[in-house]
Every structure is written in C-alpha cells, then in structure tokens.
C-alpha cells in the first residue's frame, strides 16, 4: 500500500504518476469496481459531490471544505474529467483514493466518462499532451466502463445537528424556528458559517399524530399497499412529499433512501431494480436506459420531453414524484447541470442538483456546493434495512418517508497560485 500512499501524496501535489503506475492503478480499480453493482449501497454519513471537470485546485478546496479522505465519506456523481486543465490529476487522485479507501469513496459514472465525449471535450488531448501517447487515456476509459451507474444512500438522518455558530454574525437567515421543530436544511459558506437554515415540524410520536390527518401527502392509492403501516404528519416544509409503498424491492429507513445518479431518470426505468439489471460494462450508448441515466435533466414540464442536449430526456416533477414514491426514495441527488448557486432543489425537494465545479471552465462565475447527509443515530446507529412498523393511524395504511436533513457547503474557486502547486493561469474562450 505504500506505493499507493506515495501516489496519493504525489497527486495531491498536482504531480502526475508514471504511466506504469497508472496502468497498475487502473487494473486494481477495475478489479474493485467489477464487484460493485450498478447501484452501489452507501451508508450515511456521506458527502455527495457533483461535477469536478478537471478543476483540480477546486477539488482540493472541496476536500478542505468537506473534510479530508478518509475522515469524510464521499460520493462523487461523475464528470471527473474534461473541460478543466487537470482532468488527469483529478481523476487519478480520486481513483487512488477509491482503491485505498474503497468503503469511504464512491465514484459513479458521468456522461463525460466516455471515449467519445472525452475526445471532444479535452481529456483525450490532455492525456496526449501529458503522457505523449493515448495509453493512459485508454486505461482510464477502461475504468470508466466499470464505474457504477448510481448509488443508494441509506440511513440518513431526517434532522441535522445545528452547526455551532461562531460569534454573532449577521449572515444567517432562516425560517422561523418553532417549538418542536427540527433542522431540515442548512447552507454554509466555505468558512463554515451558516448562511441559511430551514426547519420543519418534528415528527410526532404515533399517539400524537394519530388524530392528525389533515395533510397526508402525497395523495395515494390506499389499496396499493395493503398491510403497510403509516405515519401521517403535519404539513411539513417542502421536500417532505414522498412516501413509501414498500414494494419489497427496496429497503427503507425512516428517512427513505436517496438515489444518486449523474443525470436523471429514464422513461425505460420505473424502478431502481431496473437499473440493477443493465449491462453497464460498455461505452456509454447513444440511447437507452444507461444513456438516459447519465444524460437526462429535470425540467419544469409534465411528463417527458426531448432534451436539447441531443441525448437523454427532460423529465417533470410528476415523473420524479412517482419514481420516488414507487421506490421508497425521499430524494434524488444528481449533478450534470451547472447551477450558479452550487445546488438547486426542485419539485418540492424531490430532486436536487449538486454542482461542484466553482467558476466552471474558469468562466461561468458560479459557486459550487457539496451535500452532506448525516447519519441517523436514533436507532443507535444501526441502519434500518427494512420497513419499520412505526405507527398505525386512523385506518390509513401509510408509511411516511421523510426527506433527509441536508447540509450544503458552498464554496468558491480556489486561488490557484497560493498552494504551491503548479497552476496554469486559467484562460477561457470568449468571442472577440
């Protein structure tokens, strides 16, 4: 392992490792990834990250803000390469960390982890320039073919532990904290200061809630899941709209599972199990379920729409609601789309876009974000792997799935020349 630690150290300093070592690393990574299913199971706590795109210095900033490996568990949702100037350093470092700490590092595939896209968007050229041949590009592409297509996060807590506020700063805004509420979301800047918090009513015990059936959401077919138990709740903050039908294909915890995928949903995929049976070990196809998972985008439409990207689909809030409902999910986390604020929740919190490349392409002026999901310690730290019999209420069989508490850490682009790392002055194309 000392070789690997040496490689990690070298890559952390933004220095490349020899081609032979890349070959060996890629071979080991493949052996590891081949054992993973298409949908990797990950236990909370975990920090979910979006596109990196070769912005190595910003990846270092991400680790500074989010905590180092292996102290923090990470889930990267693809697009490690292309566009930025350090795709090799970024991807090889992540791969080294994956091989070194396989249980603490999860990498899933993005649409840029593809032979065709990398030849257009820069990774291929970078390999040629830095290694003098296409060998390293080929090794990396073989690893791409083995990357999982998604991940399921289990055991996330519905409630955040509030971040201790240091000093009285005027930054924070929040929804009014009422009695018996829990912290649902928190947004922190890169200095760890809370800039926004939202609260929701705490889940009542069964005796409290049994008389309160004012607002059971979403509307559902009662006959669809006979024998299930229910926990109706009071009207909650946005993001609490999903519920479970316990169809036996998924394990749920109290907060429901979180599906992580690079792009989004596919009209060919109505259950997480259908993702599991894809034959993924191939170049990203131009169409079909695998392509859609890596290319699709949520949009303010109903149903499905054509994607202006030329691959994948657009999908509306109704699609997300139905998918989450049928799969015991409380949230879909995805990347793939630049969002200027670093993250964007849509459809009553049913889906979130996480974008982790600040000042994308050294040009866009956006901030980046990572999403932390905490561990649900209420079961003594044990992840609930089956539907719990929480509460029975007024004859409606309904297990309510609550969205996880979400902590977003927002950060800006790293100052490139302050870290003692080689850094080309960034240059971006404009029309002149």
């Amino acid at each position: 392992m000392s070789d690997l630690d040496g490689a990690i150290e070298q890559l952390r300093a933004c220095r490349l490792i020899p081609e032979a070592q890349v070959r060996e690393l890629c071979y080991k990574a493949r052996e590891l990834l081949i054992e993973e299913g298409n949908v990797v199971s990950v236990d909370a706590p975990v920090t979910i990250c979006g596109d990196i795109h070769g912005q190595f210095h910003d990846l270092m900033e991400l680790f500074r803000v989010g905590g180092d490996v292996p102290d923090t568990n990470y889930l990267f949702m693809g697009d490690f390469v292309d566009r930025g100037f350090y795709s090799l350093e970024s991807f090889l470092l992540l791969l080294c960390l994956k091989v070194r700490y396989p249980d603490r590092m999860t990498l899933i595939r993005g649409n840029h982890e593809s032979r065709q896209i990398t030849t257009v968007y820069g990774f291929y050229d970078e390999c040629i320039r830095k290694y003098g041949s296409a060998n390293v590009w080929r090794y990396c592409c073989e690893v791409f073919d083995y990357l999982a297509l998604g991940a399921i996060v289990l055991g996330a807590s519905s409630e955040l532990e509030p971040t201790a506020m240091s000093g009285a700063n005027g930054l924070s805004q929040s929804t009014m904290q009422i009695d018996d509420s829990e912290l649902e979301t928190e947004v922190l800047n890169s200095r760890g200061e809370v800039t926004m918090s939202t609260y929701r009513p705490r889940q009542r015990s069964s005796s409290d809630t049994s008389t309160d059936s004012r607002n059971i959401s979403p509307p559902r077919d009662i006959s669809a899941a006979p024998g299930q138990t229910a926990t109706p709740s009071r009207p909650g903050a946005p993001g609490t709209g999903a519920s479970s039908n316990g169809n036996g294909t998924m394990h749920t915890s109290r907060t429901g599972a979180v599906l992580c995928v690079h792009g989004g949903l596919s009209p060919l995929i109505d259950s997480v199990d259908k993702i599991r049976i894809i034959d993924r070990k191939q170049e990203v196809p131009h169409e079909g379920a695998m392509c859609d998972l890596l290319w699709s985008d949520p949009d303010e439409i109903e149903g499905w729409g054509l994607s202006p990207r030329g691959a994948g689909f657009l999908f509306g809030g109704d699609i997300v609601k139905a998918f989450n409902y049928h799969n015991d999910l409380s949230l879909i986390a995805r990347a793939h789309q630049l969002v200027m604020e670093g993250y964007k929740e849509m459809f009553d919190g049913g889906i979130v876009t996480v974008w982790s490349a600040p000042n994308y392409c050294y040009r866009c002026g956006n901030v980046a974000a990572i999403l932390e999901l905490g561990e649900d310690a209420s079961n003594g730290g044990t992840v609930a792997r089956s539907n719990g019999n929480y509460a029975r209420s007024n004859g409606i069989f309904n297990e309510r799935v609550v969205s996880p508490g979400r902590r977003y850490r927002v950060f800006e682009a790293a100052a490139q020349d302050t870290r003692g790392m080689p850094a080309k002055k960034p240059v971006a194309d404009y029309f002149l």
Binding site: F85, N111, H112, Q116, I117, V120, Y121, G122, D125, R129, D297, P308, R309, G310, A311, Q337, L338, V339, M340, N359, Y360, C361, Y362, R363, C364, G365, N366, K424, K425, P426, V427, A428, D429, Y430, F431, L432
Partner: protein
C-alpha cells in the same frame, strides 16, 4: 519581451505557445497589440466552425494563419455560427436581392481584420452593386494584403488576373484599392466629427451612398468618447450635402458583449483584463436598452433594435437548421451555452429616407423586448 500569459486556449491544447508581439499591458502600444491580436481569436473560431460544417466559407482558410488552426469547443462553435449568420442576415437584407440595375450601396466594416465577408459577397453577386471598405490597424491590413498576395483564390475573387488588374496596393503594402473593395490602414481613434471629410482620409468612401457600418467587437475596445466619435464621424459625413440634416440612409450593426454586472459578466471582465483586454464601452452599453438608446443618441432615428445571441439562436434559426447544427457536435452544457450566449448581443439601428427606403428589410426581423 515576456510571452503573454496564455492568451489563447489553442496554445494550451496543441503544442507550444506561439509568441506574439507584446510590449506589456501598460504601454499603449502593447494594448493595441493585444487588441489587434483579438482578430486572430475570431478567425480561428471561424475556421473551427467552418471545418466542422457550421458555416460555409471558402475563404477563411486563406485568411487564417496556418499555425493557429484548431478546434474550438462546441459552445464556441455554436456562438460563432449564430454571430456570423445573424450579421450575414442583416447584411443580406441591407443589400437586398441582387439585380443588375440595383442602386449602389456601401458597407464599411470597422476593425474587420481577417474577416471574409467581402470575398463571400463578391463571389455571390456577379457584378458588384456595392463598394466595401475595411478599416483596421496597419498591422492587420498589411497581414490581409499578404494573405491576398499569397492566395490565388482571393486574387481571383478580387478580379486580379494577368490580363486585367484594377487593384492597387500602397508602397507600404498595407492599403489596397479596387473598384469595389478598399482596405484602409487607419487607427479609428483619429476619426471624429471634426475630422475632415472621408474622401481624403478614407479614399473611395462615397458619402452619398446608402451605407452600412459594421462593428464586430471593435468599438468596444475604444473609450466611450472615442467610440462615439467614430460613429459621429460617419453619421455626420455620410450625408447628402445639399441638405441641412444628414439624410443619406445609414445603418449600424454592433456585435458586442453585454451584461457585465452578473457573476458571468464580472468573470468575463476580469478574465479578459488578465489578458490585457479592456472592454471600455461595456459598462456604458451594458444592456439591450442601452444599445438601443445609443442609436437614438447617434441620430439613427428610424429604428433601433437588439437581441442577445441566445434569443437569436432560439428565434432566428429555423427548426430544421437548428437540428442540422445541433447534430454537428454534441453540445453538452446547455446552461453554459445560455449563460455565454446571453452575454453577447447583436444590435442594429438605422436612419432611412421616406421614398425608396433602404432598411425596410430590417423592420420585420424579430428583436428582443425588455430593457435588460
């Protein structure tokens, strides 16, 4: 002489950096060099778009320095496509359909650099019904003269052949004059309403012809006063001298960045400043409305309109053509495209005469509403 700090993505992507004349960003001469070199940026982008099938242009290769050939990213190619086709559309509507008895018109392209439009127009209209002027720094016009001298294709289009040669080149090889094409080596900053009439300083310019001025990312490099003076020079002198008010039809097309005050805009300003490029009029003409107001102030009273590149792509490009262009390359980042495309605009304004209007074709082009 220090090499510039990576002013161009190409040089990062393919081989060693090209050296480029640069006397440092603080001396006026150095600044001018950097502005002059932006022409290379534009022609490489155009070549990239042509090679990938976005645009059809037989002349761009002959006018782009060969060592700088490269492939741009898909969003740059699409942006180049929209920019080029939008301005082509405005020019075509100004010139109107070709006919042998057309009234002669005049086009004056400011900071034209290695632009190919003159060659495309000459080859598409059997007997030129226009006279075309390009004005640029002497270093850029000299480069164009060299390109013409070394390309039989360009010479053929200009009508240069063994039996007949109506083309003259100045001793310093930076000015060119022919019946329908004039290349003027001139620092635009000398032009103002007080400058003597065009005939002496810009030989071949005919002040009584309906005239179209084009500034593709050109006047934005001048100070607001200098930029306004250049326009005022033409609005004053392009005129029927028999009347008090300048009445000769005159239109103006700007292609420029806008919206410098959002995160993308601020990043653009600082990235370009790091290259020594200062977009001096950007903050004054920062919005579509500011662009329209600019035309009104300049006396182009008959019409003022503007649209950003995102709007033009969505509304001017037909569905079939959109599909063709989208099929050329996988354009992955739609958000990035919209972000970039919303920060460039085409603005067009004109003054016209009541009888036989020249700019009628501009009236029914869809412009973008809103002040932002």
């Amino acid at each position: 002489m220090a090499a510039p700090q990576i002013p161009n993505l190409n040089t990062l992507r393919r081989g060693p950096r090209r050296s480029r004349p640069d006397d440092g960003p603080y001396r006026p001469q150095g600044k001018d060099c950097i502005v002059q070199s932006t022409d290379n940026d534009a022609s490489v982008s155009r070549l990239s778009a042509v090679e990938l099938g976005y645009l059809d242009d037989a002349y761009v290769e002959a006018l782009t320095p060969s060592e700088s050939a490269t492939r741009r990213f898909p969003i740059i190619n699409r942006g180049t496509y929209v920019r080029a086709t939008a301005i082509d559309q405005l020019v075509a509507r100004f010139l109107g359909p070709y006919s042998a008895d057309n009234q002669k018109k005049q086009i004056i392209s400011l900071g034209a650099g290695s632009d190919t439009r003159i060659f495309r127009l000459l080859s598409s209209r059997s007997t030129p019904d226009f006279v075309y002027h390009e004005i640029d720094f002497s270093v850029n016009t000299a480069a164009k003269v060299r390109a013409i001298r070394s390309s039989s294709l360009l010479q053929q289009v200009l009508g240069i052949n063994a039996s007949e040669n109506k083309v003259t080149v100045s001793k310093s090889a930076d000015a060119l004059h022919s019946p329908s094409y004039h290349l003027h080596p001139l620092d635009l900053r000398v032009l103002s309403p007080n400058t003597s009439s065009p005939e002496t300083i810009l030989p071949g310019v005919e002040t009584e012809l309906p005239t179209l001025l084009i500034s593709e990312c050109c006047l934005i490099y001048l100070s607001p006063t200098e930029a306004d003076n250049v326009v005022a020079f033409f609005t004053k002198h392009i005129s029927n001298h028999t009347s008090q008010q300048p009445t000769t039809p005159l239109g103006l097309i700007f292609y420029e960045p806008i919206r410098p005050n959002d995160p993308f805009g601020r990043t653009m300003v600082s990235n370009l400043a790091a290259r020594g490029i200062h977009l001096q009029t950007l903050h004054r003409y920062a919005s579509l409305e500011a662009q329209r107001a600019r035309f009104r102030e300049q006396g182009l009273a008959s019409g003022q309109a503007a649209a950003d590149i995102d709007f033009i792509w969505e509304r001017w490009v037909g569905e079939e053509e959109k599909e063709r262009v989208a099929g050329l390359e996988m354009l992955d980042e739609m958000e990035e495209w919209r972000l970039l495309a919303r920060h460039y605009c085409v603005a067009w304004g004109w003054r016209d005469r009541d009888d036989e209007p020249v700019f009628g074709g501009w009236k029914n082009l869809e412009a973008q509403e809103g002040s932002e």
